[in-house]
Every structure is written in C-alpha cells, then in structure tokens.
Amino acid sequence: MFQIIKYLFKNDIRFRFGFIAIIIVIFLIVLSFFSAYDARERNVVPKNLPPSLKYYFGTNSIGQDIFWKLTVAIGNSLLLGLVASCISRTIGLTVGLISGYLGGRTDRMLSTISGSFIVIPRLPLLILLSFVFKEKLSFITLGVILGCLDWAWPGRRYRSQILSLREMEFTYTARFSGMNALKVVSKEHLPFLVPYLMADLISGMLWAIAMEITLAVLGLSDLMTPTIGTMVFWAGYYQATLKELWWWISAPILAAVFTIVALYLLSASISQYLDPRTRLQMISVKG
C-alpha cells in the first residue's frame, strides 16, 4: 500500500497535487477538534473583522471565527459525502453484480427498479423532503437519503461491466474450474471493477457534497450544523457581499473548490493506476 502511494507520488503529478491537498484537508479537519470555540456558538468573537493574524479567515456577522468554523464545516461535508457515497455504491455494486451476472428475470426486475430510480427528479424530491421534515432532517440523515437516491446509475455501469466480463473466455474457464457464481464474480470480475469503484466513490462524494450545498444555500437543510453549504447560506442571509465581507463568502467556496479538485485528482490518478490495462502495460514493461 505504502509502496503504491510512494510510487504514484513520484510519478504522477496529479496524485502529488491531490494527495498533498487531501492531507491539508485532513489536517484541517483534525485541527477542528482543537478549536477554541464551539462552531455552533454565536458571538464568541468580535463581528465582521477581516482576515488577520488572530482570525485567519476573519469573522462573520454572527460573531464566529470563520477559520475554525470552516474546519468543522469541511469535516461535516466530507463526512456526509462519504456516508452518501458508501451507501449508494454498496447498493449499486450489489444490484449491478447480481443483475449483470444472473441475467434473466432477476435482471429484468432489478433493471426496472433501477430505471425507476434513475428517472426520479432528485433535486425537487429533496426540496420536498426538506420542506416536510425541516429541522428533523439532520445532516447524517440527509447523507443516507442522498445515498439511497444515487445508486441507480452506478449500478447500471457495474452491470454493464459485468455483462461484458461474463462473456470473456476466462469466465468460462473459471466456471469449468468449478467456481460457483459468487467466487467467479468476486475473484474474476471484481478486480476489474476496482478502478471504477475508486473513481466512482469519489464522484459519489462530489455529488452528495454538491447536493448538500445546493439544499443549504436554498435554506432547506439543518442550518445550525456547520457545513460548507450552510456557511454559504448564512453568508448570503447576512448579505455578506453587499457589506463587502468578502472573506465570509469566499472562504467556504474556496474550501469547496479546493477539496473537490483534490478529490478529483486523486480519483483520476488512482483509477488510472488501478485500471487493468495500465497494470498490464506496467507488468509487461517490468517483465
């Protein structure tokens, strides 16, 4: 594992960038536990101060230190993304594998179900749910709901991968070697899916984070929990741009862009590395 990281670090500039960036992000998140202030408390510092050596990103109109609040916010957003993505990809992978490998009626049934999920207009649905549940929609619950709405497309992709893998000659060899369906899928096919899974997991996180920001900016999620989205919301609510409190609105946005780009770079370089074709090329260059 470490060898892979060291290796990618040396040879792939995207990985270098993304890895360093993510380390910074993780560092910030860890820092959040040492914050002097509780991020939900109001009026703990003087209001509307621009960035300075004491308040690195300045303070906002609610009397909170933006830097320390941001560290918590990034952590929450990422956590939400992770929860949503893990749930959605697990469901998607399971459904895709079963559907693709077994075929027949099971496939048709599961495809119908996934098709129904694909056509659901997610943003309107989420807006509706937010209206209905307003404060009771904690951000973890939001993560779970997002996860349950995002599995269908990935499921389809995994299914189509399995469909093509199923017809490969080595699948027949595996079957004639006596391997049962479970073994075939996990030992023969899964290794081909891992690169997609890695990139997919991160893209799932990105979607969930973006959804959260969207809902928060519209004022529809739990606004008391500090997340990137809610920070943007409050900045808007207090008309930060009109009052020229540029630091308040730019901090979460820049943090979001930074994190998202970092995640993307990591996923692209990891998935290229793990891609069976690249691995084969590497093996043949080595051997």
Binding site: Y7, N11, M282, K286
Partner: protein, 330 residues
C-alpha cells in the same frame, strides 16, 4: 541493382510507463535487397519482428519505434531516395503511386457508412494530380475488370460483402494507382481457407499485371510456397536465411528453418512431426551471440558469444549460422 536496398537496419521499441523502461530489439542488423519484378516473402513467427521491418521499410516510424541505425534506400530509375534520411522532402516524394501498404486486419478499414465507390473515389482523388481526377472511373473499372472482381461491389456497403471480398476490395484499392512496390502484411490471415486462396491468387495476378515488387509478410509457410519467388526467414529480429522459395523448402540450411519446415503438417501425411524445442526468446533481453543458440541442437561455443557468421551458399542462398559455416569449411 536492387530496387529496395536495406543495409544494417536496426530498430527498437522504447517503452516506458510510470518510470520503468524497457527496450525491445525488434529488428537487429538486417540487410537485404529486393529486385525488380519480384515477390519477396518475409516469414517468421509472432514476435520475430517482421511487421516492424515492414513498417520501417514503408517509412512508418513513429514512437515508441525508433530506428537506431542502418539505411533503407529506394532506387527508382535514376533517383536514389534514402527513406530514413533527415530531409523530410525525400521521404515525402514517395507517395501512394509508388509504394502501397496493405496492413494487417485491413478488412475492417473500410468506412462502414459509405459505399465502396465513394471510398475509391476519395482515395484516387486525393492521390492524383487535379488534372487527372476524372480518371477515377476509368481506373476503377479497369482495375476491377482485370482483377476479376464483380462491378456490383462498387454500389455495396462493406458489411454486405464477405470477408474475403472485402479484403480483395482493399487490395484492389491499394493497387489501383499501379504502385511500384506493394507491402502486404498478413493479407489473408483472418480469412477462411477458400477466401484466402482467392486473396493470394489476386495478389499474384496483380503482380503479374503490374510487374511491380511485392513484399509479403506472413507466418504461413504454405502461402510463401504458393506465391513468393524468394523468402527471408526472420527469427527474433534477425534474418537467419534468405533464398529462392524452392531452395528454402527443399534445401534449407539454417537449423531454425529446418525445424520450421520440418514441423509443417501436410494433408496425407501422418508421420510424427516435432516442434522447435524450448520457448521463443524474449525480445527485451535477447540471448547473446546467435539469438537461436538456446534452442539449437548444433550450438557451438562460438554461437553463445559472437553473432553468427554470414554464409553465401551460392545462387542467392544466404545463411547466418556459424555451424553451417563450419560444415561448409569456411
């Protein structure tokens, strides 16, 4: 004088990925000449370098392939053009009217959404000077007629034709401008036996009609026996033997060639046939000295260290083998 003169040609593939490098010695110190009105066969198995050799002869040298040394000279009439020289204009002056190339798997090259006649028209119009553009119809009809291909293929789409017919259409296309040299890389290997015969007979017909040079690369010795005048046997990037086709089949000298010819099954013959022993050599790290020595039953000490001695057995029969040299008292 040879029309195409190849001297000491060496070409390698340099591969590198994620910091690891590998160099594949695909063509190593190859020298031979091709004469007027001749069909030369280049025979060898997968990985022997024959496709790379053809690419270099045709001038298609693109990374990761690099030419490390040697020359390829085309002697057309009065001009001598060194294909690999650094002056780009030299190589460009050789166009599709002079040299034509039929790549492997070329049946799939036809644009599936256009009729055959459109493909022909495009090709001819691109390669002829503007004054002669209208010649296209006459050229195509003549070509199809001479080659015995039905005119109805012109109005068809590629998928409607059988594999063998598609391949023949490609060959007709590649030779419609009557090139002086035709390179064909495994022109029939993807085809059925009967279609293959049609393609090979077509090539023979073209060469007789146009009296040009044909260089045929194939791993199928039966095709060489049927079509070529001379054969060069390649092994691991080297030419190990070169002779008239008849002499290769009836009087091969190099141990590898002997094994190769001896292992070919024939209908009507159930006598035991043996394969060449041992595994083929890795081109990334070829054996020192003679590249065949690990598998050769006649390997001498000198074979393990030095490159094989070159023997001219007369009548255009050349062998690169120290053992043969010893046997002949050289």
């Amino acid at each position: 004088m040879a029309v195409i003169d190849v001297r000491e040609l060496t070409a390698h593939y340099i591969l590198g990925l994620y910091g690891r490098k590998k160099e594949i010695s695909a063509v190593d110190n190859v020298s031979f000449g091709i004469n007027k009105n001749e069909i030369l066969g280049i025979a060898g198995e997968s990985g022997c370098g024959k496709t790379t050799l053809i690419k270099v002869l045709f001038g298609m040298v693109k990374l990761p392939l690099i030419v490390l040394g040697g020359s390829v000279t085309y002697n057309f009439g009065n001009s001598s053009i060194d294909l690999l020289s650094s002056e780009a204009s030299d190589a460009d002056s050789i166009g599709w009217q002079d040299v034509s190339y039929i790549p492997q798997g070329s049946m799939s090259v036809l644009n599936p959404v256009r009729r055959i006649e459109s493909t022909f028209r495009d090709f001819i119009e691109t390669n002829l000077p503007p004054e002669e553009k209208d010649e296209y119809e006459r050229l195509v009809k003549d070509q199809l007629f001479i080659l015995g291909l039905p005119f109805e293929v012109l109005k068809s789409y590629p998928h409607q034709l059988s594999g063998g017919m598609r391949q023949r259409v490609i060959i007709a296309l590649a030779t419609v401008l009557k090139p002086r040299v035709i390179f064909a890389d495994e022109p029939s290997s993807a085809l059925d036996v009967v279609a293959q015969r049609g393609v090979i007979q077509l090539l023979k017909k073209i060469q007789r009609e146009q009296q040009n040079i044909m260089v045929l690369v194939s791993h199928d010795m039966g095709i060489h026996a049927n079509l070529t005048d001379r054969v060069a046997i390649m092994y691991a990037g080297n030419i190990v033997e070169e002779a008239r086709t008849k002499d290769i089949f009836k009087g091969a000298l190099h141990p590898y060639t002997k094994y190769l010819i001896g292992s070919l099954p024939k209908v009507g013959d159930k006598l035991y046939k043996a394969s060449v022993p041992g595994p083929p050599p890795p081109l990334a790290n070829p054996p020192k000295g003679c590249r065949f020595h690990p598998r050769c039953p006649h390997a001498l000490d000198i074979c393990r260290g030095d490159p094989p001695m070159f023997v001219d057995a007369g009548d255009g029969h050349k062998v690169a083998c120290s053992f043969v040299a010893k046997e002949m008292g050289l």
